[in-house]
Amino acid sequence: MNEAIRRWQQNLGASPAFKADNLEELASHLSASIQKLAATGLSEEEAFLIAMRRLGERGALEREYAKVNSSRTWVMAAFWVVLGVFVVDLRRAMESSFSILLMWNKPDPRQHAFTFFGVLSLMEYGLTALLILIAYRLAARREKGHNDFVRRCLDRPFWTIICLVGFFMLVRFLPLIVIALTAAQATAQRTVLRHSWQDWLPWAATVLWNVILAATTVVLARREFREVSPAVRSDRSQEEMPRDL
């Protein structure tokens, strides 16, 4: 029977009108209702059907919930858009870092153009596929309502933002670091030290842009996923809530 409720819950979860929290509450209602009905002598299946019927038609339920959660649909859309921009940026950063690493010590880059573009487009498709796969895995796990890693990240928004930006910067600056560490002095001077402060402005803009992106992503994600699985605080709450209100 729990399996049936869980399936029903998953089915309903496909609609953006419901939060995970809403689904859990409805499931809790269903199981209470089924228990009560089954106690009158109905079979589990009959009890399930009647409980579902009493809960109301799915479309109507969805409409009512959508009204209450309307701000959420907006937040959700914004979240995925910002995440998309972030991911595309990350992919471009990876590509540009990779191409710099691949080409920087070649005496005549034109000779390698064919290999270069071949590898680059392969990387482009590969990375896109990989990122979609990761997003899919995350979304699939989120539907089950348990993603400890994401939840832990959202509990520490500040550090998550720092880590995201740090990772991004690492990808961006990787070629510079590698070149600075391994290059002959002349090359290093050409690529790194020649920069005047004006040359660093675009970098500063990149950093700023990434901080904004990461912060927006995390803030939206917190609004969106915070309530996914409310912690059970059974013992403490008993004291906090006086029974005779």
Partner: protein
């Protein structure tokens, strides 16, 4: 049986009144209404929850997940200060209608 419009109009007041007895969870609220109305007021059960969430947004009530004795997790709702005020205002209005109708029907019995 109560008409659809009256059910819609009275839901918030009923929820506020039941929660003023004590904090409770959704299924129990429905049970309470069934029990007291003798089946005359029938909520489409699922519809209660969006109303509860709306009331929570309006800061009339607040909620908390808790583990019941049976081990089931349930979301309990309780009145907030604003809710208590709202209930007071609702009571006055419903009583005004009630008094008016009673007076009318006393002089012209149905």
């Amino acid at each position: 049986m109560l008409s659809k419009e009256l059910v819609a109009a009275s839901t918030t007041t009923l929820v506020l009144s039941i929660l003023s007895e004590r904090e409770n969870y959704g299924y129990a609220l429905i049970q309470r209404v069934n029990e007291l109305s003798g089946g005359n007021v029938q909520w489409s059960e699922g519809m209660l929850y969006p109303v509860l969430h709306w009331m929570e947004k309006e800061e009339l009530i607040e909620s908390e997940w808790r583990e019941a004795e049976s081990g089931h997790r349930r979301k309990y709702y309780r009145l907030r200060k604003e809710g208590r005020k709202a209930l007071h205002a609702e009571k006055e209005q419903w009583m005004a209608v009630h008094t008016l109708l009673t007076k009318l029907w006393k002089t012209q019995p149905v």
